[in-house]
Symmetry: C2
Subunit: 437 residues, 2 copies
């Protein structure tokens, strides 16, 4: 089953595009024009600001370089979207907020500079949940991004537009940020691959902060292999191809959050044969949740304390309510949370045990309708935000590399399989993705 | 003018004691017996637990080693007191609190292990303000330590007993901890020298925490030179003797806190000729205060959250009140404070400007009566706690090395001169102390 409205990059990989660029079957200018046209014709609200002139110029330069024998690698000439809270010099970057409606960035974020150095063509900014403060992706000053498989449903967030844009084939690559799952959740709910590298592997300088301790810059693309190529290109690193056998353990999703059995089954099938199973103990899960919430609340409230005092009315009402709650967190809970990370590291080691990689669904439910905050699962009510974050946020607390890859559709909606590795286990992580279904 | 009741180590330096030990004029056993007798006869409440048997045994071993030609350096055979929240294996360590009235430490703190490795003889634990949470030194489960110059007056704290013990000549050396001035304040008010090294220069493992970001382990001894010898012995480091000319700047004490003019004058006289003067801007001072308070409050409340919930009645009432206030601090203020340290580092660089060392009084007032929380200065009321911490706490926020040395007496009470250096400026700091009065 294919996506209802395929875009120019649907079914295309970075590898294939790169071959076409180098064989002369296409040009960066042509790919960029395809992207710009598709974005203009899309009703997904995936993009906020499109830089048609800048993109055309960058594409021409990419073509000239290739013609002159200058090859910047797998991202050379590839059109890319950039989440609307990552600074792009001279472009409007709004954080999805009325607070920054007219804000123009002074200089490129470090990751944008890396993207350009790798030869990619920045086409514009993609919709973010306001200040990235929400995993639903549907509260943004410019309105919600829409799920390409069903525009009445949320993309997930906060890198909502990046997820929609890649999944809909508007661009073959997008940058996102991931503080509790904000790359992986929209990738999973929209049917793309998404990679959150280890903490600080891609520098966060020039990214508007949500929670510096938890913020990660990541990539969204069609496949795990595309994510890998992008990661290697951005970090100028090369992951080993020969990693031997990778032992994948299935982390029982119900030990993290009540899970739609169809989602669990699809993810499990995608994981293929596994070496064994693991469960997270309830007290460890609770410590992960408390730690994540306290670190994020304290740091996010610190970022926005000035705006909360001076112009609260400019926030989206839901974001405002959440910020006000976050601002009440006592300092000693934050301090305890920062200290708890060491203990959680030990729990995670025990959980990984003999496995190189743990596999779970990325999100335990299918994409809910835009605006939904409660859902039902097996006759029981569940909180949508808690559900969306449940499988992904522990790996932000620990800074472990984590990847989501598309599994089968359920009810016409994408399901993501999440793979998580130890720091330094990136090669094994991508090897595990290759040995999946 | 000499101290009212001189002890066996009054007027003795580590250098002189070391010469006597090595020339056979005395033994570690004899020095230890002198210390134990003096402690037993003292009414200053400087010690909490005395380990006569352990000290005698350690002294015998020190003598045997010296006799066998094993020389551990300047602390070999020197009796030392250890603040009652630094762990000593097998000894009662109470944190000055009823919560730990019967607590026996499992193992030596890292600094105690270093002290023993350097050959010192641990004679017992010295009174601390309960959990080190107070610069007055007069709230401790075993009662306040008393100022050797006037037993109705406070020692200052929180290393209250270490200050009294060294100043009264009960021991030639004591360990303390310093989170906002807790080594320097009692040293200054009691008439000893005290050195707070750079952050983490002496490891804090095995020290009961007050605020890990601000806690420093330091030493108290008769003179700056004794502090230096102790520091070098504990850290197995050697500071350069040749540092060239050291430019000392006078940091106007009134730019930090209203200062008793007699105290300012005595400290200024002790500093001798200076290269120039500096003033702290009011907004920088305010940022230092807020930052110090927020970091300490958040971290201290985190340490005691369990006890606050389960057994609040075991705290001293004043300590309890302060902990309850600290527990209310919002997390975002703590996060902001942790971030503000970088900005304060820049302000401090501007303040140091051309100077290698800044000089101020250590404390802007004379030792107040035990229990006093308000005092009067020039007809205006001042808060005693704020006064005691005002000159010392900025250097904990920055982790800069700071030293207090005795200046002249005022009204029969000691005044301390504080010298502060850049990290790495320890040799200049001690050179500045030599060129003082």
């Amino acid at each position: 089953m294919t996506i209802p409205s395929p875009g120019p990059f649907t079914g295309r990989t970075l590898d294939g595009l790169g071959r076409d660029l180098r064989s002369g079957r296409t040009t960066a200018a042509e790919l960029t024009a395809l992207a710009l046209d598709a974005i203009a014709g899309s009703e997904l609200n995936a993009f906020v600001t499109v830089d048609a002139a800048g993109a055309a110029k960058a594409a021409r330069r990419a073509d000239e370089e290739l013609a002159a024998g200058i090859d910047r690698g797998p991202l050379h000439g590839i059109p890319a979207g950039v989440k609307d809270l990552i600074m792009i010099a001279g472009l409007r970057v709004t954080m999805g907020s009325r607070h920054f409606a007219g804000h123009v960035a002074d200089e490129d974020a470090a990751c944008v500079a890396l993207l350009r150095r790798a030869g990619a063509v920045v086409v514009g900014t993609t919709t973010t949940h306001e200040f990235a403060y929400g995993p639903t992706g549907d509260r943004s000053a410019g309105g919600p991004a829409r799920n390409p498989w069903d525009p009445s449903r949320m993309t997930g967030g906060s890198s909502a537009g990046s997820g929609a844009a890649v999944a809909a084939g508007l661009v073959p690559l997008a940058l996102g940020t991931d503080t509790g799952g904000s790359v992986r959740i929209p990738a999973a709910l929209c049917g793309a691959a998404g990679f959150k590298p280890a903490y600080d592997a891609i520098p966060a300088d020039g990214v508007f902060p949500l929670s510096r301790t938890l913020d990660h810059v990541g990539v969204l693309a069609a496949t795990a292999s595309c994510c890998r190529l992008s990661y290697e290109a951005l970090t100028a690193s090369g992951l080993s191809e020969t990693v031997g056998e990778v032992r994948v353990g299935w982390l029982e999703p119900d030990s993290l959050f009540p899970t739609d059995p169809r989602v669990a089954e699809a993810a499990r099938a995608a994981a293929g044969p596994v070496a064994g199973e693991a469960r997270m103990a309830p007290e460890v899960l609770e410590l992960f949740r408390e730690t994540y919430l306290a670190i994020q609340s304290g740091e996010t409230a610190a970022v926005h304390a000035g705006r909360l005092a001076s112009a609260p009315g400019l926030f989206d009402p839901e974001v405002l309510d959440r910020l006000r709650v976050a601002a009440e967190l006592p300092a000693w809970r934050y301090v305890r949370a920062m200290e708890a990370r060491r203990e959680l590291e030990e729990h995670a080691e025990a959980l990984f045990g003999p496995y190189d990689v743990l596999a779970t669904p990325t999100v335990p439910i299918l994409a809910p309708p835009i605006g939904a905050r409660e859902a039902e699962l097996g006759g029981e009510p569940i909180q949508v935000r808690a559900a969306l974050l449940a499988m992904t946020s522990p790996w932000n607390v620990l800074g472990r590399p984590a990847l989501t890859v598309p599994a089968e559709l359920v009810d016409g909606l994408p399901v993501g399989l999440q793979l998580v590795a130890r720091p330094g286990g990136e090669a094994q992580l991508f090897a595990a993705a290759r040995q999946c279904r």
